[in-house]
């Protein structure tokens, strides 16, 4: 187990290395630099700019310099936001994005499992039908349709919730709509997943034994069924978290949340090289660590899995 753990943690390094290298060269090889704009910049100024950002050096030297900077967690100056370094942009947005992501993940997991339990225990009754239809709808409605529709209904028509921005401007209420939007598809999927696996476990022999022993139904459900049924949900947490991280890019754009999602889109459109690279690195680290945590968690929950 410790050996597996160490190997998994070390495996972060090559993956990150590949992501950074791939993104670096994808960005540099594309035609048109960050200074190619509609109004042409005079040659002399362009030369100076290139020099300032070390873009006049050979590609391989730029690459090595960049790698060195990243190891020191220095992302350099932003090409577009002249007054800010990329580190400042990330430092400011990351806590907000992280809290939105974590709130959504908790909402999706807790809500999804709860609803899944209800649905499975009331199989083929109206509660079950309501849950299963909501679940399929949740999987089918894209985030960028769901978000604006919620804004329209609750923000513009009913006027009970703020349509955008974050806690600093609107208080805790501002979290509600973005978090619901972001968590809904995963909530729906987790509900479906836990319903299916609970139903499967309910039919298994050890549950029959537990019931035959005369255990109370609540004990059977809480101690026996849930333990066996939640494994698939745990496996799904990894993909769910990646989905939430990527989805947050759209949700942040829709709700004007001042996280790292909007700068990412902006930097991609503006060709703000340093900012894109930093965003990719940060997002990749989050995703890779999340997957690692899920893998290890899974090992603790399921003793049948052996680590080699």
């Amino acid at each position: 187990m410790p050996r597996y753990f160490i190997r998994r943690v070390l495996s972060i390094i090559p993956t990150l290395f590949i992501v950074i290298t791939l993104s670096f060269f994808l960005i540099r090889l594309a035609p048109g630099g960050p200074f190619a704009r509609e109004r042409e910049v005079p040659e002399a100024i362009l030369q100076n700019l290139m020099k300032r950002y070390h873009m006049d050096e050979p590609l391989i030297k730029q690459y090595l310099r960049y790698m060195g900077d990243i190891i020191r967690w220095d992302f350099g100056p932003s090409y577009r936001y002249r007054d800010l370094t990329v580190n400042e942009i990330i430092d400011e947005g990351l806590p907000i994005s992280m809290s939105l992501g974590v709130i959504s993940l908790v909402l999706a997991t807790v809500g999804g499992i709860a609803v899944g339990i209800i649905s499975a225990l009331k199989q083929n009754r109206w509660q079950d039908y309501v849950v299963t239809s909501i679940a399929v709808i949740g999987i089918s409605v894209p985030l960028f349709v769901m978000g604006p529709v919620l804004q329209l209904v609750f923000g513009m028509r009913l006027k009970i919730l703020p349509i955008g921005q974050w806690i600093s401007t609107h208080g805790i209420k501002a979290v509600i709509l973005p978090a619901i939007t972001l968590s809904f598809p995963y909530f729906a999927y987790i509900a479906r997943l836990s319903r299916a696996s609970i139903l499967e476990v309910l039919r298994s022999d050890y549950i029959r034994t537990a019931r035959a022993k005369g255990l109370k139904e609540s004990v059977v459900v809480w101690k026996h069924v849930l333990k066996g049924a939640l494994l698939p949900v745990v496996t799904y947490l990894g993909p769910a978290f990646s989905g939430i991280v990527v989805g947050s890019i759209v949700v942040e754009s829709v709700f004007l949340v001042p996280g790292i999602g909007r700068p990412f889109v902006q930097s991609a459109l503006n060709r703000d090289y340093t900012l894109i690279m930093a965003e990719v690195v940060v997002y990749s680290i989050i995703l890779i660590i999340a997957n690692l945590v899920v893998d290890i968690l899974y090992g603790f929950l399921d003793p049948r899995i052996s680590y080699k």
Binding site: T15, I27, A268, L269
Partner: protein
Amino acid sequence: MAKKQLENAVNEFNQVMKPVSLWADAWKRLRKNKMALISLVIVSIYVVISLFAPLLTSTGILIDYRKQVITNASLPPSFKPAGELVVKKIENRIVDLEKRVEEQQQQQSAFSSFFDFGSLDTQEESSEPSDGYTESQEGGFSFTYEGEGFSGNTTDPVVRELISQKETLERVKAELDTNPDYKIVYILGTDNLGRDMFARIIYGGRISIAIGIVGTLTAALVGILVGAISGYVGGWLDNFLMRFVDIMYGLPYMLIVIIIMAMIGEKARGSFVVLFVAIALVSWLTIARVVRGQIISLKNSEFVEAARSMGASTQRIIFRHLLPNTLGVIIVFSTLMMPSFIMNESFLSFLGLGVSAPDASWGTLVSEGVRAMESYAWQLLGPGIAMTIFLFCMNFLGDGLRDALDPQSKNRT
């Protein structure tokens, strides 16, 4: 095609296989699943309409989705001709403006009466300093002025707009029977440039569905090839390919797609070929893994051994014996992959990194609708609902197919 292959494969070994093949069996099971059948019908309707959209446009059933009629901008969904809606819209605007003029007047008169009491001046004198306001006051009281000789010297923008709106109303009413633009019926309303939403949604769906289908086919093809070779050959090749897949799996691929889309620039982005290649390049992984697993479990079965003992080549065994048997899984995965393709494409288009003008996918339409949703909600709801229904049906169909083709995994999600 698939069916024939399967029968051929079976006949070779002189096995008597009744016509009730896997497919007939699956069809029987699928038919029992009402929701999946309804979904199949709806999906087929979408696909057929998308296929024949140019025909519908050229025969005049569908309005040209590029046709901009500025006078008909942002009309709500309705079965009435556009002219009536335009008249109603202008009339509403006029009522609105009149109300505002009246409000201004009340403020104005309150102000001037206060002024009167304070200065003990006469009414006539107090009206002198700003003739614009007093005139609008008079105009507001009676509403009999038709603008002549009066629009020239008024400075109040509200009054000015009121006058011009009234003029437009007259003009529209006069043209109501002569102008063909006012006879068009927009059942799903129009966008801010006066284009028919219904036609735009259909053409948007054409692009979205095309990207979904082509992307799925590409991803499936690459995935099947890699998975089949890896699973059948085994050994170091299998190891190498699967390590490669593992590493690719670890990459945050949506981020890479975003970078690719951002980097290829506005011009190349217009052709959506790039878009589906970008998405397809990174989504063959799951299929490769699934196919590999299936192949490995099948390659030691008796019928493969029989084929090998009869001297069939590796290629023949893979493509004629093994793959047809994994087709069920592949179909299920492809059906479930398509909605995610469409969602990813729309996701990029929504961010402004996907299909660019004049083409529009569902994602583009939704993002345009978001900008106008406060006043013209239908511009968001139309494409949003159209897209959701399609994705909903694809998901249901995929689930139904899984239950039908792979009964062992029933009730699993």
